[in-house]
C-alpha cells in the first residue's frame, strides 16, 4: 500500500508526509500494521547508508487495528533492536523509556494508522524532543480515535460516521477537529436538536 491521499480539510487536522532518512546519532521507528512497509521503504531510500543506520536503529512494531501483522518484514531488516508488542498500550512503557534515555540527535519515524502516529507523537512531545526531529507517514486503516465531547470517553477504531459512543451511548458525528494532546478527533451528538433523528452510518474511515 502506498502513501494515503487525504481530502482537503481544516487546519487542526494532522497532515503526514513520507519518511526520509536523516542523519542522526540514533533512529527510533514506531509503526503499526501497513506502517511496516513505510519503515522498509525508509531504509531502502537510505541506500548504501542503510547498514550503518540499522546498526543504530530501534524498531517498535504493533499489529494494525484490522489484524495486519507485517512484523516479519521489519524484523528482516536487521535493526540493532526490533520489538513486537501486541498493542500500542503494551508498547508505550518501552517507548517512553527509549525517549527518556534519548540523546541529542535522535531521529524519530512514526508510520501506520493515525491512532498509532498520534499516540506515539504525544509521547515524543511530552519527552521534550524538538518537533522537527519527528517524521510521520500514514499507511493502512483510516479508522479514528474519537473523544466524545459530552462524556469525555474515547472510542477507538471508529470507522463509521455517525457512530455510537462506546461510553455514554450518544449518537456522535465525527469532526475533523483534532487534539494532539488527546490524540483524538472530536465527536458531537448528531441528534441533539432532533432526538431520534439519526442518519444512517456511512463507512467513512475504512
Amino acid at each position: 500500500m502506498t502513501k494515503t491521499v487525504f481530502e482537503k480539510s481544516i487546519r487542526s487536522r494532522p497532515v503526514y508526509d513520507e519518511l526520509q532518512p536523516r542523519p542522526g546519532t540514533a533512529h527510533l521507528c514506531v509503526a503499526d500494521g501497513e506502517g511496516a512497509e513505510a519503515v522498509c521503504d525508509l531504509f531502502a531510500k537510505a541506500g548504501t547508508a542503510a547498514a550503518e543506520m540499522l546498526a543504530r536503529s530501534h524498531i517498535i512494531y504493533v499489529p494494525g487495528p484490522t489484524g495486519t501483522d507485517l512484523f516479519a518484514k521489519v524484523q528482516a531488516l536487521g535493526a540493532a533492536q526490533c520489538h513486537r508488542s501486541p498493542s500500542f498500550w503494551a508498547a508505550e512503557p518501552r517507548l517512553r523509556k527509549v525517549l527518556a534515555d534519548a540523546h541529542m540527535g535522535l531521529q524519530v519515524y512514526l508510520a501506520g494508522t493515525e491512532t498509532l502516529i498520534g499516540l506515539a507523537q504525544r509521547d515524543v512531545i511530552e519527552a521534550g524532543l524538538p518537533h522537527d526531529a519527528v517524521q510521520t507517514e500514514h499507511r493502512g486503516s483510516l479508522s479514528r480515535r474519537v473523544q466524545c465531547v459530552h462524556c469525555k470517553g474515547i472510542t477507538e477504531n471508529v470507522t463509521t460516521d455517525p457512530f455510537t459512543c462506546s461510553h455514554c451511548g450518544l449518537n456522535l458525528f465525527v469532526r475533523d477537529h483534532y487534539s494532539r494532546r488527546l490524540a483524538a478527533f472530536q465527536g458531537v451528538n448528531i441528534d441533539a436538536e432532533d432526538p431520534g433523528t439519526v442518519p444512517p452510518a456511512v463507512e467513512r474511515f475504512k
Binding site: R11, S12, V149, Q186, N189, A192, P195
Partner: protein, 347 residues
C-alpha cells in the same frame, strides 16, 4: 454606581432580564447593515461614560448572577477551568491586571492594598476579603487565574507565545459559544480556530496572528464576535449540547421575541508583562429580541444582517433552522429607512 445587581438566573426558570439602562448600553456589534468576518480590531481605550467601553473590565447589573452561574458550572464540570503547569505566571499577571483595573475603575466596590508582595484584596459586592502573598499560590484558595476569574464576568483564556505562534494553554470557560476548552487546550492559533468557516480562506487568521504576536503591554485591543442563543443560557457548551440543543427546535413566531437572544462577545486582548502571554477575556452580553427592537436603529439593522448573512455562517452560528422565523419577526421593525454608520443607537 446608579444601579442594583439583579437577582436572576441563566438556567431553568431563566429570570435574566436587561433593565432599560442595560438595553441602552448593550454592545450592539454591527456598525453597518451587513456582516462578514474581518480582523476588526481597535485599541481598547476608555470609551463613552456609561458604555461598556468606559472601563477596562465592565461590571454591570448581571455581575453577581453571572458569578453564581459560573460556580454552578464549575461544580458540575471542573474541566471548564484548566491551566497547564507553565501558565501559572500568566495567571498571576491576569490577577494583577484585573485587581488593579477594578480597584481603579470601581473604587466603591473593589480595593487593592499592597505592601511589597503582601496584598489585600476587597471585593464588596461578592463579600470577599483576601490577604495573600503575590506569586505564592499556596496563599489563595484557588490558582491565581481561577481565583480572579471566579470574581470577573466573561470567559478567559491565556495564550503562551513561542515559535511565532500563540498556544491556548489556560482558561476559565463557562459562558462559551459552543467550543470546548478541554478539547482545544494546548492547540496553536490556527488549530483552535480550525472549525470556523470562510475566515481561513480570507486570510483573517493569518493577519490576526501576525498582529497579535506584536501586541504590546499597555496597548490592549478589542473586537466583537456574535451569535444567537435560545433562552438566556450562558453555558452553551458543546459538553452540554444534548441538554440545550433541543431548544433550537422550539422557536415559533409567537415565542421568538422572548426566547431568541443576540449573544455578543466583547473580546479584549492584553499582553501580560511577566509571562509575555496574551490574556483574552471574552465577555458575553445577552439581549432578547423583544428588548433589542426597542432601539429602532438596531432593529432595522439586525433584520438586514440576519436576512442577508452567508448561509455557512448562519449554520456555523447555529440559527439556520430558525432564520426565516427570526427574519419574519424582525421585518416588522424595519421600515426600510437608512441607518446611520456605527453602533450607537441614537447617532
Amino acid at each position: 454606581m446608579g444601579f442594583e445587581f439583579n437577582t436572576e438566573t441563566f438556567r431553568n426558570d431563566f429570570t435574566f432580564r436587561n433593565s432599560p439602562r442595560a438595553i441602552a448600553r448593550f454592545p450592539f456589534p454591527f456598525d453597518r447593515d451587513d456582516y462578514m468576518y474581518s480582523v476588526n480590531m481597535e485599541p481598547h481605550v476608555p470609551g463613552r461614560p456609561g458604555s461598556v467601553f468606559e472601563h477596562a473590565f465592565d461590571v454591570d447589573e448581571h455581575y453577581l448572577a453571572e458569578m453564581r452561574d459560573r460556580d454552578l458550572v464549575l461544580k458540575e464540570d471542573p474541566l471548564r477551568c484548566q491551566s497547564l503547569p507553565h501558565m501559572e505566571m500568566a495567571g498571576w499577571d491576569l490577577l494583577e491586571l484585573i485587581m488593579e483595573s477594578k480597584a481603579r475603575d470601581y473604587p466603591d466596590w473593589f480595593e487593592l492594598h499592597r505592601q511589597g508582595n503582601k496584598w489585600h484584596w476587597i471585593n464588596k459586592p461578592m463579600q470577599i476579603e483576601q490577604k495573600f502573598t503575590f506569586l505564592d499560590s499556596s496563599t489563595l484558595p484557588y490558582g491565581p487565574m481561577e481565583y480572579i476569574t471566579r470574581q470577573t464576568q466573561g470567559d478567559f483564556t491565556l495564550q503562551d507565545q513561542r515559535d511565532e505562534n500563540l498556544w491556548i494553554e489556560a482558561g476559565m470557560v463557562t459562558t462559551q459559544a459552543d467550543w470546548s476548552l478541554d478539547f482545544d487546550i494546548g492547540m496553536g492559533f490556527h488549530e483552535w480556530h480550525a472549525p470556523v468557516p470562510l475566515a481561513h480562506e480570507k486570510g483573517v487568521f493569518d493577519r490576526a496572528l501576525k498582529f497579535l504576536l506584536k501586541l504590546q503591554h499597555g496597548a490592549p485591543v478589542r473586537r466583537f464576535n456574535w451569535t444567537m442563543t435560545v433562552d438566556p443560557l450562558l453555558d452553551t457548551s458543546p459538553e452540554n449540547y444534548p441538554k440545550w440543543g433541543p431548544t433550537r427546535a422550539e422557536i415559533t413566531p409567537e415565542n421568538v421575541g422572548q426566547r431568541m437572544h443576540l449573544r455578543v462577545e466583547l473580546q479584549t486582548l492584553w499582553r501580560l508583562p511577566r509571562s509575555n502571554a496574551i490574556a483574552f477575556p471574552i465577555r458575553c452580553y445577552l439581549i432578547k429580541f423583544d428588548e433589542l427592537v426597542t432601539q429602532p436603529k438596531w432593529a432595522r439593522r439586525l433584520h438586514r444582517v440576519v436576512r442577508d448573512l452567508h448561509p455557512d455562517l448562519a449554520a456555523y452560528k447555529g440559527f439556520l433552522r430558525n432564520r426565516d422565523t427570526m427574519v419574519a419577526y424582525l421585518s416588522q421593525y424595519d421600515d426600510g429607512a437608512p441607518t446611520s454608520p456605527g453602533w450607537w443607537p441614537e447617532d
